[in-house]
Symmetry: C2
Subunit: 361 residues, 2 copies
């Protein structure tokens, strides 16, 4: 039995053991073909089945019909926020960005390299909250409104999604896609790097309405047009076949184990357990995020000093808990509680949170 650490990494993050074990077998031999999953042609029947299933599971989990294109691409969320304005920001138009964290800042910056784009929710750079719907200064006639549903760095999360005042709404859902049943009917595009709440790195999921795709610019490189990948079923060029395989296994098991309703129940229980342990020692731990905007995926806090933060991380590692060091841009502590993190792991962390405070408080 392999020893497995408790993994609270922000992404790449822990993955479900069952899917990893299935993938191990497929590395040398996919479905008794005598050929490993990496060694099959992406144009052959064995891989195509995997590819279709991964897309089908995403449709099933998120209730997406054929009005939506489901794309499995390379380059991560960073590449999608670069190609988004290439596809959808036309000369004379303005793109709106609800910047609520560091990743939103980067997305806006890339749009501004290309055309007219503005932040419609200017707020304090500490990003301790999510603006209310009315605080989004949406203008008529915009190319689109972009927002980040969950801020991985700052630990904030949207509950209700903003509306675009008629403009298509685009969501970077990298760190909270599939965390609960999600109504995408108000959105025109969703994208998510897989390495947080889906699967391994090297894969980004793009969900986009086909009627909006039809309006996209055609004068950009073929490979950067989302329409190219839609027309080719995400097989325009060789995909990351390994990542698609593992994702297929993870999504299939997620469906089998109760789907997103059950995922939400588990995720809410995990977040509640950890936040309550932290709140119970409120004199010792500081939680920067305003309570209604706390993320269920990324829980951030800090101790009295950077030295104490470091000791917390070090002692947690000694007890088998890894990935707790905050992002280099924010410092402090961060525990990411993505779908693959078990309630048992969170229970262990919560108990450590309590014990550490009592020992050092």
């Amino acid at each position: 039995m392999t020893h497995r650490a408790m993994n609270f990494n922000a992404g790449p993050a822990g993955l479900p053991l069952e899917a990893l074990e299935e993938t191990r077998e497929a590395l040398l031999d996919l479905d008794h073909t005598g050929i490993g999953v990496l060694e099959h042609s992406h144009r052959g029947a064995a891989y195509e089945r995997v590819h279709q299933e991964a897309q089908g599971h995403l449709r099933a989990l998120l209730g997406l019909d054929e009005a939506w294109s489901v794309l499995l691409l390379q380059g991560g969320a960073s590449q999608v926020f670069a190609t988004l304005p290439m596809n959808f920001l036309k000369p004379g138009q303005r793109a709106l960005y609800a910047v609520t964290g560091g990743w939103g800042e980067k997305a806006l910056e890339e749009a501004q390299r290309l055309g007219d784009a503005v932040d419609v929710t200017p707020m304090a750079k500490q990003y301790r909250r999510i603006p209310a719907a009315a605080e989004h200064r949406v203008e008529a006639g915009a190319a689109y409104l972009h927002f980040t549903s969950n801020n991985t760095l700052e630990g904030t999360q949207y509950d209700a999604f903003p509306t675009g005042g008629g403009a298509p709404v685009v969501c970077d859902m990298s760190s909270d896609i599939l965390w609960r049943p999600t109504d995408l009917s108000g959105l025109s595009m969703v994208y998510a790097g897989a390495q947080k709440n889906i699967g391994p790195s090297g894969l980004v999921v793009v969900l986009v309405r086909r009627d909006w795709l039809a309006e996209a610019r055609r004068d950009i490189a073929t490979i950067f047009r989302f329409a190219t990948h839609d027309a080719n079923g995400s097989l325009y060029n060789t995909p990351n076949t390994f990542a698609v395989y593992l994702t297929r296994c993870i999504l299939r098991n997620l469906l089998r184990d109760g789907g997103l309703a059950e995922a939400e129940r588990r995720n809410r229980a995990k977040a509640a357990r950890l936040y309550s342990a932290l709140d119970a020692e409120a004199g010792f731990y500081t939680l920067p995020v305003e309570r209604p905007h706390r993320s269920a995926m990324n829980v951030v806090w800090r101790l009295g000093s950077p030295e104490l933060d470091a000791r917390f991380v070090k002692e947690a590692e000694r007890e088998g808990m890894f990935g707790l060091k905050g992002h280099r841009s924010t410092g402090g502590i961060r525990a990411s509680l993505y779908n693959a993190v078990t309630l048992g792991d969170v229970e262990a962390l919560a108990q450590f949170v309590t014990a550490f405070a009592r020992r050092n408080g």
Copy 2:
């Protein structure tokens, strides 16, 4: 013992068993960390070591000093030939393309979407040969000269590389990088999708001279600037950590087993064995490529009819040999003999080639 087929796929292609087995172990536990290779942060020490080693092995195999940047990116060769002109084709300049096959055509097309680019080796579309150096109509003052060292579809391969008449020379080496010791001193950039002669899909290697990088355009999306990835050691965004790990294992073993000199000896023996079996039945098999331009990596031939081609493929599969069907654009038969294909596999195929001809000739 897992049954393993003989795999002549053109890419994704067969991979060395030893590296696959090492990777299987790392999926659940990388270097006794209790955390699988996919689950480590790309900013952590365990993954960073892997990342550095993969780059170091490429430097060692190809004799690259610090004048070269060694990048491990996503998006495959198709993305690189789209971003190449974005980086290096400036207004008022012309890019030269030595188009010797279908992939070169696509690369030229992407450059033409963006600026002025021309084919400097116009030739018959069957692409049965490689033009001589003097046939490359190189003009002074060009942005760069692009060529494809090995044509995966057509089965042709450059022996001596063309020169750019002063312009930087860029090579798509996707299907024959690392096949033999290669002098890159006449080139300014090399790129290669990993899934042919290196490792798994989802990774593309870009080797580029830093002095040329310094001249690249800065007014494009951050993620599409090769300079961004050079400045960040290919960790600007989350890399395909799995593919880098497996590539690291494959390259390390390649170095251990005699490096590129030994690879060349094996690859030449493999190609000689198969071509000689085919030539011995020259009435039965048609080899379209002119002899001096035959590829050692992709051997293409056809039988008397598409029906006979199909029977050849089917009967070969019954004997455990897969991936022999020619590309959908060319038809016929293709056997790819990348580094991971063993001499034993080729011996079996050569014997089948002979026996099939005698049974059906």
